[in-house]
């Protein structure tokens, strides 16, 4: 530098400045989010292994993945942090609705999520969030009966679970979470799964109290291993979780009872308090890519509302896990869970009255 002539110095400086400006202008699109860190909470074992590394590599955004066990778990954590602490949370439909109504969910900018075009059109007509204004669907599925075809006959109705035949007494389980604990009785009685009518809830509770005497347990997390071990022969199950049993024993089958069921949707919600909304939108868009959705279905064994992804899923997988082939058309004839609002205390008292 010492020997540099002043004119050459100016020229060099000018070139440097121009180079920096060009780099900043062209790079700004990725540079703005690159290097930021997103904190995301999803259910344990619900994210395909390579989804996040691929996203980090492509965008330069870092992801800190936290895990929750249930909707209630993550809602409790959000409650304790007054709706903060995360950029994106994975929750089921009614909880996304609750986040929206509390003002904790950020309104999504559809322009930043071009891959939403991959979704089935029906996936934006779900009652908890019409038009996907505050949430993007991640997976969806239904609740039905999961059973050991070598140990009991094929069930057809929710009544096969609610009023089990003598050989099934003490060999059935039901889901423990309020909404799904009530669902079989509400469907048998022909009521809405979102009913807040006290008389209807009472009638369902009376039926379920009788059923409790015949149950092995209420179980949300290990029902499929009870089927595998033979402790249970017929259980109420989410279709994706029944697959974990089928994976271990192909004699395990899944069926939607004739009275119908629900369509539950697990969604991604960006929190209003997030300081990295642009990066968060990028993550949502990444998950809605066709190959991301394919990975979700192939590794987590849940259906995704992503039409392009579902079309690419290995065909042999559908043979092994037939519930992956349940058509969206059938799924959408069912009701989806809504937030219960003011009726939540009534519901929780009703369920306490059954299990208490």
């Amino acid at each position: 530098m010492k020997h540099l002539k002043p004119t050459r110095f100016v020229a060099l400086a000018a070139i440097t400045v121009i180079a920096v400006v060009v780099a900043v202008v062209t790079g700004s699109a990725t540079a703005k989010t690159s290097g930021t860190t997103l904190t995301i909470s999803n259910w344990d074992a619900y994210t395909p292994k390579d989804l996040i590394p691929k996203f980090e590599k492509a965008t330069g955004i870092k992801v800190k993945l936290a895990k929750h066990t249930t909707n209630e778990d993550i809602m409790g954590k959000l409650e304790a942090q007054n709706g903060g602490g995360y950029d994106i949370v994975f929750v089921s439909g009614p909880f996304a609705e609750s986040l929206k109504k509390r003002g904790w969910a950020a309104k999504l900018d559809p322009k930043q999520i071009p891959n939403r075009k991959n979704l089935y059109p029906a996936a934006s007509r779900l009652a908890y969030d019409l038009g996907n204004k505050y949430s993007m669907p991640y997976t969806w599925g239904t609740t039905g009966l999961c059973w050991r075809s070598d140990l009991t006959k094929t069930p057809t109705s929710w009544n096969d679970l609610l009023k089990p035949s003598a050989d099934l007494k003490g060999k059935t389980t039901m889901l423990a979470t309020d909404r799904w604990l009530m669902l079989p009785a509400l469907k048998v009685l022909g009521y809405s799964i979102n009913t807040v009518n006290p008389a209807q809830l009472q009638k369902a509770a009376a039926l379920l109290k009788e059923t409790k005497k015949t149950l092995l347990a209420y179980d949300d997390t290990t029902f499929y291993s009870k089927l595998v071990s033979g402790e249970a022969r017929l259980v109420e199950a989410w279709d994706g979780w029944c697959n974990y049993g089928i994976g271990e024993n192909p004699k395990i089958k899944f069926k939607i009872p004739k009275e119908g069921s629900d369509v539950f949707v697990d969604t991604m919600v960006v929190l209003e308090k997030s300081k990295n909304k642009e990066a968060a939108h990028k993550f949502l868009d990444w998950v809605l890519r066709a190959d991301s959705g394919k990975a979700v279905t192939e590794l987590v064994l849940y259906k995704t509302p992503n039409a392009v992804a579902m079309a690419r899923v290995r065909k042999s997988l559908g043979k092994q896990y037939p519930n992956l082939l349940i058509p969206p058309k059938l799924l959408l004839t069912f009701e989806t869970e809504r937030d219960l609002g003011k009726a939540q205390p009534l519901w929780s008292r009703t369920v306490s009255g059954i299990v208490g």
Partner: protein, 288 residues
């Protein structure tokens, strides 16, 4: 005098801060929450109300409380019946053995409660070890239902909290020493009489402390009824947990928690009265 007081204040201040920050403040918050209301979508609305307490006196919640008390009493009585002989056995061993035995009693605490509880699921289920042995030996044809009932809950509680019964009784027995038992033997009291008229009355404070140590955590436990009760029976701990997590009804959860704390407070008062009586009794016997 004044300087002495200043110094003693300085010395107790860490303890006072601990007590204020980790006991008074949280319990105060819980108490305050119990007078507020749940928002429509969860959260807390800061309007005063007594409605939560009216709701808590529902016969449904009282029956849950009754079941919890029953389980806690059963677990405490069984722990006492097992714990007293164990403590007596340890206290009468030579000194070098006592340490080993005490470590063995505390050893289970080195494993997580979740794992210890889940181990019972593995042992007790229909296809589990115990049932396989029973069937293999031809004692039964059909598996015996050992899991997902009150029996399993009580077993889980006893196995978890037994050390908390043994330790205070052991401490009381050790302080008592062998002399009084030997003296009563010299005066012709048989083993049973020695136990019943000398040892038990003089270790009553230890027994009361052990009972409290088992009873209190049993009453509030929610993990064991969930895993070993199969969710088919709720205890008051499950009820409180459910209000905070599932129903997102913090005010009502707080109300149930306050009610539980109030009940336990009465119990601790009884225990401290027993303990004081024990100390007075000791002083009286020494005076004689």
């Amino acid at each position: 005098m004044r300087r002495g007081r200043l110094r003693s204040t300085a010395l107790v201040s860490p303890a006072l801060l601990w007590w204020a920050g980790l006991l008074v403040l949280p319990v105060g918050l819980v108490l305050a929450y119990s007078f507020f209301q749940r928002g429509t979508y969860g959260g807390v609305v800061y309007d005063w109300t007594f409605d939560n307490y009216r709701r808590a006196f529902d016969s449904l919640y009282l029956s849950v409380l009754w079941f919890s008390l029953r389980v806690a009493v059963e677990a405490t009585v069984i722990s006492l019946l097992i714990g007293y002989p164990v403590a007596l056995f340890v206290a009468t061993r030579p000194a070098r053995w006592r340490t080993v035995l005490l470590v063995l009693i505390i050893l289970p605490f080195w494993t997580s409660l979740l794992i210890r509880t889940y181990a019972w699921v593995v042992l007790l289920n229909d296809q589990g070890l115990i049932n396989r042995v029973l069937r293999g030996s031809g004692l039964v044809d059909e598996p015996v239902r050992l899991l997902y009932n009150e029996f399993a809950i009580v077993i889980g509680m006893v196995s978890t909290y037994l050390p908390l019964m043994v330790l205070p009784i052991y401490a009381a027995l050790e302080r008592l020493g062998p002399e009084l038992a030997e003296a009563s033997a010299d005066l012709g009291a048989n083993a049973w009489k020695r136990l019943w008229t000398v040892m038990v009355p003089l270790t009553l404070p230890g027994i009361a402390a052990g009972c409290i140590f088992v009873f209190v955590p049993t009453l509030g436990n929610f993990l064991i009824p969930d895993l070993l009760g199969g969710g088919r029976r709720q205890m008051v701990g499950n009820l409180i947990q459910g209000q905070f997590l599932k129903a997102r009804d913090w005010p009502f959860g707080a109300t149930l928690a306050v009610s539980l704390i109030a009940m336990l407070l009465v119990l601790v008062l009884v225990q401290s009265w027993l303990a004081r009586r024990g100390v007075d009794g000791e002083a009286a016997s020494r005076a004689v």
